[in-house]
Amino acid sequence: MRNLKRLVIVFSLVFLLVGCNDQKIIETLGLMSVMCFDKATDSVEGNMLVTSTFPSITEESNRKETTIDTIAFSKKDAERKLAAKTEQEIVNGQIRSLIFSEDFAADGINQIIHSVERDQEIGSQVKVVISEGEASAILEAIPTESTGNYVDKMLRKESDQFNIPYLDIHYFSRDMHDDGIEPVAPLVGIEDGEVVVKGAALFRDDRYVGKLTIQESKLLLLMRGKVKKSDLVIKIPQETGYRTLYFTYNHSKAETKVKKKGTEIEQVDIHVSMVGSLLEDTGTKMNGNSSTDNNEVQKLIDGYLSNEAVRLIEILKEKKADSLGIKGYVRNSLTYQEWKKIKEEDLFQKIPINVTFSVILQNKGMLE
């Protein structure tokens, strides 16, 4: 038991010497919640305009958001320069989202992604967002006090409803490094001074190459895999105006099959099956005995989706963005040698992709 005494002595000696250098006491920190990257004209100071916001607490214990920006060469360079502009110690462990402007992302964001992944203080669930127009404008347009959190929550809500793809820094980095798929990021923009989710941003490796509308990005998600719940507003042109259907589906599955002839790849089939309910149909007639026909509606939706899918694949092929991960399926159907041979070719553009849908109406709400 004399050990215990010695132990106490040794420990107290050691502890006198350690620890305090690393203290990061919460109220002394400027906790960045978001970082925006815009392109800046090359100068001696840097090539990117980085804007960030962090809360500061006023004398009356009120929280207020401070926004500062700087021109820098890299993310860490920017952090250092931002820190010089405030009395708080700038830290990045609470960053929730990174917003890139279209111009900036078009040049590739590999450097930033790696910097974030290398930084041990930043978590893996940081959202990556592309903004139409200037990224810093998004910050100004956000109404609440906690900017980063607002973007985070908005994106989470939208991706939970399968309107836009979910994307955080880990997903981005993973798909960027995968030779079978390309990342897809959410796209936000400003309409009438309000921040709006616009759709999806397509990438080829780390370069932004094009965008999809919300409707298109929903379709993309349908074709990529399981969708737990989402909805579609389907407009079908008629003799006079449109017939509008509102279809909500709660289970959809996508099956991707690679058809081969010998070692040659013939075609990739994507089959999407979805089950859901019809909650609106402007084609309903006034007289009672002509209820909405299940088969007719299913066919209508099917046809609409098939058309849209063809259009979407054209867009993807044009942008050379394999956001569906077709290459991955092809890879997994080949031997390693075969794959190595065709890996570098423009596989995605060459392979014909056929999308089929099977739509099942489970119910039609409270009306027949």
């Binding site: 040794v10 690393d22 798909d175 995968d178 991960g325």
Partner: protein, 361 residues
């Protein structure tokens, strides 16, 4: 107090000695050295380890004498064995110190960057000393609780299931790998620790005839934990991403976010302190046995201090991550050689002695 370690606890002890900070790097090591589907290698190496354990079980079954020392000294006198004992003791304590340095350096990647790393190592050594002073039965009792406090981490993997995809696994096996031999050695060193059963068995309750099975069970737990973690990493990361991620398992844990606490990795990683401590203490404990056999005058306290200080002095200059990695590779290789070599030598000794007509204990 002469309570014996129950077989069940032996299994836990073996698992806790085996698994350590290697787990954090294992998926990357596999990805770099074996490429696609490297996780299968864990199972293959685990099988090789089982053969190694089989050798040890033969030694224990056919032993002449109470412990390893009695087996050896029946043929070769203590004086001849003395330098060998000392060398073995130093190797193992050096291995232990290197493992602890590795742990501290990874800790400092996460937090406490500005603290002097040697201070942290001293703290760890004090803990080692504290636990090392207890008898092996108490060590086993403490290990038990450490096991319960750490094993649940494996369950965190459930969180990652929605983020995985079999697509990323690819049908290719061991393609795009760099250096398979080095890889196998690295994975093998990740399994090291089972060889200590050679020194542990006199303290184990051998009333049940199948007590040795628990060594296999312990190794099985390690294999399951290693293989499932690596498998999960291959599903969660893309291959090229895995290759550039220093500590994939740390990223895995970091991805878990719950309402109450975010970024639990800074907490969970520190739990590994307990696993490391068990590895550390048992290697040093075995070294102590060796040293005390060589110099019987030493008390446990003295031999502990001597070994810890020797290990620290030998690795005084090794303070950078890359250096520690290289040293670990070399010392790990030596230790792996010992794990294979020791039982073979012992079996030869037993063979000669049986031939001479010595009686089995």
């Amino acid at each position: 107090m002469s309570e014996k370690i129950a077989p069940f606890h032996l299994a836990i002890l073996i698992y806790m000695i085996q698994s350590g900070v290697t787990l954090y790097k294992l998926p990357r090591m596999l990805a770099v050295n074996f490429g696609t589907n490297g996780w299968i290698m864990v199972l293959i190496v685990s099988f090789i380890v089982i053969i190694n354990i089989l050798l040890i079980s033969l030694v224990i079954r056919f032993r002449i004498g109470e412990n390893v020392f009695e087996i050896m000294e029946g043929l070769i006198s203590v004086k001849v064995m003395l330098p060998f004992y000392m060398l073995l003791a130093v190797t193992w304590s050096l291995l232990a110190i290197l493992v602890s340095k590795d742990f501290i350096l990874i800790t400092q990647v996460l937090s406490l960057q500005n603290t002097n790393s040697s201070m942290l190592i001293v703290i760890l050594m004090v803990l080692t000393f504290y636990l090392g002073m207890k008898d092996v039965y108490t060590i086993s009792k403490a290990t038990n609780i450490f096991f319960i406090l750490t094993i649940w981490m494996t369950l965190l993997m459930i969180y990652h299931i929605p983020h995985t995809s079999f697509l990323r696994l690819t049908p290719f096996i061991f393609k795009e790998g760099k250096n398979a031999v080095e890889g196998i050695i690295q994975v093998y060193t990740g399994f090291l620790g089972f060889e200590l059963v050679l020194f542990l068995f006199p303290y184990v309750d051998q009333s049940k005839p199948k007590w040795f099975h628990s060594v296999y069970y312990g190794h099985l737990i390690t294999t399951i934990v290693y293989a499932s973690t690596c498998f999960m990493s291959y599903l969660y990361f893309s291959l090229d991403q895995l290759k550039i991620t220093s500590y994939p398992v740390l990223n895995l844990i970091a991805y878990v976010e719950i309402e109450l606490i975010e970024r639990i990795e800074s907490f969970v990683f520190n739990l590994f302190l307990m696993k490391i401590l068990v590895t550390l203490v048992l290697y040093i404990w075995a070294s102590c046995l060796l040293l005390e056999r060589a110099i019987p005058k030493l008390s446990r306290k003295q031999s502990l201090v001597i070994l810890i200080v020797t290990g620290m002095l030998l690795s005084l200059k090794v303070n950078v991550m890359a250096d520690v990695g290289n040293w670990l590779l070399i010392v790990g290789f030596v230790a792996a050689g010992l794990a294979v070599g020791l039982p073979i030598i012992l079996l030869i000794v037993i063979g000669i002695r049986t031939y001479r007509g010595d009686h089995r204990a």
